[in-house]
Assembly symmetry: C2
Homo-oligomer: 328 residues x 2
Amino acid sequence: YEYLEQELLSYRELAAETLDGHSITLRGNVELAEEVDLALREGAKGVGLYRTEFLFMNRERIPDEEEQYLAYREVVERMAPHPVTIRTLDVGGDKLVTDIDLSDEANPALGLRAIRFSLQEGKLFNTQLRAILRASAHGQVRILFPMITGLAEIRSCKNLLEEVKAELAAEGYAFDADIQIGIMIETPSAVLIAELLAQEVDFLSVGTNDLIQYCLAIDRGNEHVAYLYEPLHPAVLRALQMVCRAGQSAGIEVGICGEMAAEPLYALVLLGLGFDELSMNAPYLPRVKRIIRQARRSEALELVTELLQFGTAPEVASCLQKEMQQRF
Amino acid sequence: YEYLEQELLSYRELAAETLDGHSITLRGNVELAEEVDLALREGAKGVGLYRTEFLFMNRERIPDEEEQYLAYREVVERMAPHPVTIRTLDVGGDKLVTDIDLSDEANPALGLRAIRFSLQEGKLFNTQLRAILRASAHGQVRILFPMITGLAEIRSCKNLLEEVKAELAAEGYAFDADIQIGIMIETPSAVLIAELLAQEVDFLSVGTNDLIQYCLAIDRGNEHVAYLYEPLHPAVLRALQMVCRAGQSAGIEVGICGEMAAEPLYALVLLGLGFDELSMNAPYLPRVKRIIRQARRSEALELVTELLQFGTAPEVASCLQKEMQQRF
Ligand SMILES: [Mg+2]
Ligand SMILES: [Mg+2]
């Protein structure tokens, strides 16, 4: 075990590249500026998911533009020159102090949250977009919109972003006018029309935790149905495949920032499906890189073709485990 | 308006056939035996969805086998020789008096309900399957399992059904040993692997209400997100197309029993997508049949190809409305 730790340490400086020369971008998920240093130490080439909820929750007042700007800027500067992907507010409206009363939502997971909430709370969203854009003057920033279900939401986001750019320009602020925008793919709808959505954005990022829950119509926090949460469910694999293909057709980067990205068992599968970026909490990075560096892309492609033949998650898992045991 | 009523009356006896000779099966959704007569009067060729929840809810005790058998038998006999599709219990567990405490489910729509609940409550499910099978001695019965997400659930249902058949045979009861079994397609997962599921059953029935909600990750009962409930959302159209294609490949019937089936505006779309059966509350049958009889399948196919090009529901709706105004 200690030996493995030593070996993993040595991976931190090495490229995330397969034996047959295919590169994957490994990035970190962070919530606080301090976590950026850890991600860098573990070899992250940027932040694939910067969760901004932390700034907003458990407090009386929504943070103002300056406070957000300073927080985002610190993450961006620490990670420079690598990109930081800032996800706009992704909470259920019930978690924040606002004027909208959401305490009566019968199914909050299917309610006013994430981008729906931001689009409804114009002032709050405007402030966050201003802060993100201002932070983009200090490094490479990408904006990520959560819980998109269709083109209309993307267009609303883009329009608002353009308005904010115009405001900031008029006020003399510096920002990246060509800031990249991406969307989380975490609703089944976004999977089904991934090829349409991919034409409107610069990158896709799959949020597997929510995607699995919505695909299977389960709340994994519910003990009675948690057994149905299966990342290797054939429907999930097909969904991931559809998203990767959509990204490839559109020529844009497809990442994954859910828990699946951090599980070494799935690394070959994600490689074979065609993901360009895996983003995870820093401590998992070396283990995943180790798998990537010992694999061939061609074999991962074959493996995925084989896994897609199976009808149930246990069958997929058993085939995958056998393969992994033989190799690692 | 009176003239239209008269005209619709005349449709009741006519076949649900397009101008170019393609037949669709129109069936009724019922909850009570009395509704069967109404469905027959409106021209239904069977029951596409018999909801059994009514028998179970708002009472102290789960109905016993005999009570269920008599209820199912009455519907089956009234509808003979047309088939009756009996859906097994499709409620949230929180709605019934059982030993499982589900009052703490944070998101009941993503919880222990429908087939999940039946598979957990073995005695209750066994009793319902016995009653359904015994009713199958009195006419043509099909069993429909709700909220399927994968093959494992179908296999469990089939195994339990075979056990019940063996029990009944040993006890000397008459039943249809070749009873057809089908599944509701209402989770995104079931759409994504429809082609696998179709190989295991005799028919598919799309529950559009839930499917739309799960695809778009919304609770339409929630006023804050109800605006996102769009039956013509491009993701919904693609989902319906995937299901129809899966059924066609497997050579089995694909029906639709959600509210979409009852909306004349959607009839051409459903025809073009390739549905074999539309099932709805009786009063809607003549209006839908009128559309079918005045349409050509070939034109409906072209229309669907055109509608699938659009990126948003309002664009789809506007194209469809224009087409419908020109024709009807
Ligand atoms: Mg999410
Ligand atoms: Mg349902």
